[in-house]
């Protein structure tokens, strides 16, 4: 309601994106009149709709030759990960396995398509396959069939040298299925890593994990405070801020996943919230002149050269996020009194206020298709943040989380259908993922305290068929 009467210039990103999207399926369509002050789940609809468009069955994979306990353990992992990935993608209706025919499906010759079209099932697509483990080596054969036409859509054989890679194969096949059945709308997010900051003793270290919380591994181990990680567009580097023990300044680090790192020279002891430009040549971040009193938005090259103050305002300006074209930057500023979401062109011109609701906004993150910005907001007089989405062109606002605790630091998945964030609703800060409509919430970390998730882009080396 409150957003609708607001006149707003449609920004360049939106225009360009719309042109690009012509002829494709729109990923998301928000249709609702939200009330911000009531904690009400908005009626956000994801297309293709999970419950109406595509019915998918995922039969348990079976042992190809010898059915040992080792094979059973691998099968259990593979079936669970593949099911979770496909269910999380929010493209499919997936009937319960209890309705499935009992006959195991080892290869295409085992499939009786009529059995998958009975009224209780009536699926459009069927996944099945087999798995074999021989002295550590594993082979997975995976099939996707169109039940209506009885034709094979995908047939894949994966040879892996270590059965610890079973999860990875399941993720990869899930992403292939999503890519095929979403008509290219999504390339799947199951292999896209999430970087985050994890409390370790007195310090916080940067970690990376799979999107489902598995396979957590450390990127830093310096014993200091490492915060606000963000990926480069090619996923090869992470930028974050570091406060080393006994130091009296924050540093801006760019660390390659292969180990090399660079510390950028900065004018003062304060820096926060680095964000790579979409073309990978620049960083936007928040820092301050040595004798200044307030943070401002700066950009520089990745070696720290050509440092430029973009916001030039005597207020706190922080938390920059680039539009996907790199033409605009969203940021937080308290120049109007309290921290609110503002936009400017990436040369610092054309500054305009986007959110006008009062209270406190923080941590904006621009959606990959350019239409939305997700951020956290705390209404005046309350002490907890919740996750919101604003449609940039119209200013319409949608509340995605509600209830206990404070939910902060939202970050889009590379396909723009999901959002990762941190919340202390269960006690310590933990990382959650959900659909972009707020549904299908999953807690993916459970131990210690974890914050500031940053979802990587699509893997760049992948080959799609």
């Amino acid at each position: 309601m409150r957003g609708e009467n607001r006149g707003r210039v449609i920004n360049e990103d939106k225009k360009k994106k719309d042109t690009c999207m012509t002829g494709k399926i729109l990923i998301l369509c928000f249709i609702c009149l939200p009330s911000l002050l009531k904690a009400q789940t908005p009626d956000v609809v994801i297309y293709p709709r999970p419950r109406e468009d595509t019915k998918l069955a995922v039969a348990d994979f079976v042992a190809r030759t010898s059915d040992t306990s080792e094979v059973q353990a691998a099968l259990e992992i593979f079936d669970r990960v593949l099911w979770d990935d496909l269910e999380f993608s929010a493209f499919f209706e997936m009937p319960s396995k209890s309705f499935y025919p009992l006959k195991p499906l080892r290869s295409p010759t085992d499939v009786k398509f009529d059995n998958w079209q009975v009224p209780t099932l009536d699926v459009d697509f069927l996944i099945f396959g087999n798995l074999q483990v021989d002295s550590g080596l594993a082979v997975v054969e995976a099939y996707l069939y169109d039940v209506r036409t009885r034709e094979q859509v995908l047939g894949k054989r994966y040879n892996i040298s270590d059965k610890a890679l079973i999860q990875r194969v399941a993720h990869e096949f899930a992403d292939q299925v999503v890519f095929q059945l979403s008509a290219g709308t999504s390339r799947g997010v199951a292999r896209a890593q999430i970087a985050y900051s994890s409390l370790k003793g007195q310090g916080k270290e940067i970690y990376v994990m799979d999107y489902d919380g598995a396979n957590q591994r450390t990127i830093t181990a310096n014993g200091g405070l490492n915060k606000f990680p963000e990926w480069s567009s090619d996923n090869s580097k992470l930028a974050f801020i570091t406060h080393l023990p006994r130091s009296s300044r924050w540093e801006l680090w760019i660390q390659s996943l292969d180990g090399g790192r660079r510390v950028l020279p900065l004018p003062s002891s304060y820096v926060a919230s680095p964000a790579f430009s979409p073309d990978g040549t620049q960083l936007a971040f928040s820092t301050r002149e040595v004798n200044g009193t307030d943070a401002g938005i700066y950009i520089s090259n990745l070696d720290g050269s050509r440092l430029k103050n973009l916001s030039n305002h005597s207020a706190i300006d922080s938390s920059p996020t680039w539009s996907p074209t790199g033409r605009q930057i969203g940021f937080i500023s308290d120049r109007s009194g309290s921290p609110q979401l503002w936009l400017m062109d990436s040369d610092g011109s054309n500054v305009q206020r986007l959110v006008r609701e009062g209270g406190h906004c923080d941590s904006p993150n621009w959606s990959p298709d350019g239409r939305f910005i997700t951020y956290s907001w705390q209404p005046r007089g309350q002490w907890n943040h919740q996750i919101y989405v604003i449609e940039v062109a119209t200013g319409r606002i949608f509340q995605l989380t509600s209830g206990r605790g404070s939910s902060e630091n939202p970050h889009w998945s590379p396909d723009g259908r999901h959002i990762a964030f941190q919340s202390n609703r269960t006690g310590a800060k933990q990382i959650f993922v959900m659909n972009a409509d707020g549904k299908n919430l999953r807690q993916i970390t459970a131990y210690g305290s974890n914050e500031s998730p940053a979802w990587a882009g699509y893997p760049v080396t992948e080959t799609q068929e």
Partner: protein, 260 residues
Amino acid sequence: MRRVSLYNLSWFLCFLCLLTAAACQKRPPPRAPSPSPSRSGDIARNDRRAGSLPTVTLTASPSSVERGEQTTLSWTTTDTMSLLIDSGIGNVADSGSLVISPRESTTYTATATGPGGQATATTRVTVVPRSARGIITSTDLDGLQQAIEEGKIQPLFFEYDQAGINAEGERVLKENARWFQQFPNATIVIEGHCDERGTEEYNLALGDRRAQAVKVHLVQLGIDPGRMETISFGEERPFAPGYDEAAYRLNRRAHFIVIR
């Protein structure tokens, strides 16, 4: 740069006063022995033997000091009409002395110009960083550290989402500034902190704003900005563990540590 020239200018002015005073009295004999002692001023010039080369000596005593300590530059000349000492000192009388406190090691060259030509003399003052010797430094470090441990240096507290210093904060800073001045060689870090409400990104900027506000206030109270550093910890390092206003009030603070 500006500070250096002002500094030297003030010395120069003092020197002029001395000179004026000296002109009203009998001048004392030159400090350092000179091969051909001559009287200063116009009389000396009248006595000069036209055509002989000027001579000049320049010494610094002591020649090595710690940063902030003083040394005396002394010079004598003969057959000189004008004497110039470089490194920001300028034209001086043809014999005399000057108390200086260079910030870093400096080479001083005195150029004497007379009817017979020019002569130069050079001396070097070596300035050692304080920590290199450590005696005075550690005294100040320890003294201030002790004052912090004894609770004589107080933190100050802020309102929610504010970085303004209230009357109580001003009183605390005034008192703290007195201690900082008592130990002028210690370097202080001002830490800015926030309560846990609000987000980490904004709170890091808010803590920075608080620390900078305190630094600006202390500069106004006469503390050298060169011995103050600031760092924000946002909501990373709460004093009090609770989740109520009593705890939050203690966590919205700026406090002081001494690092060297």
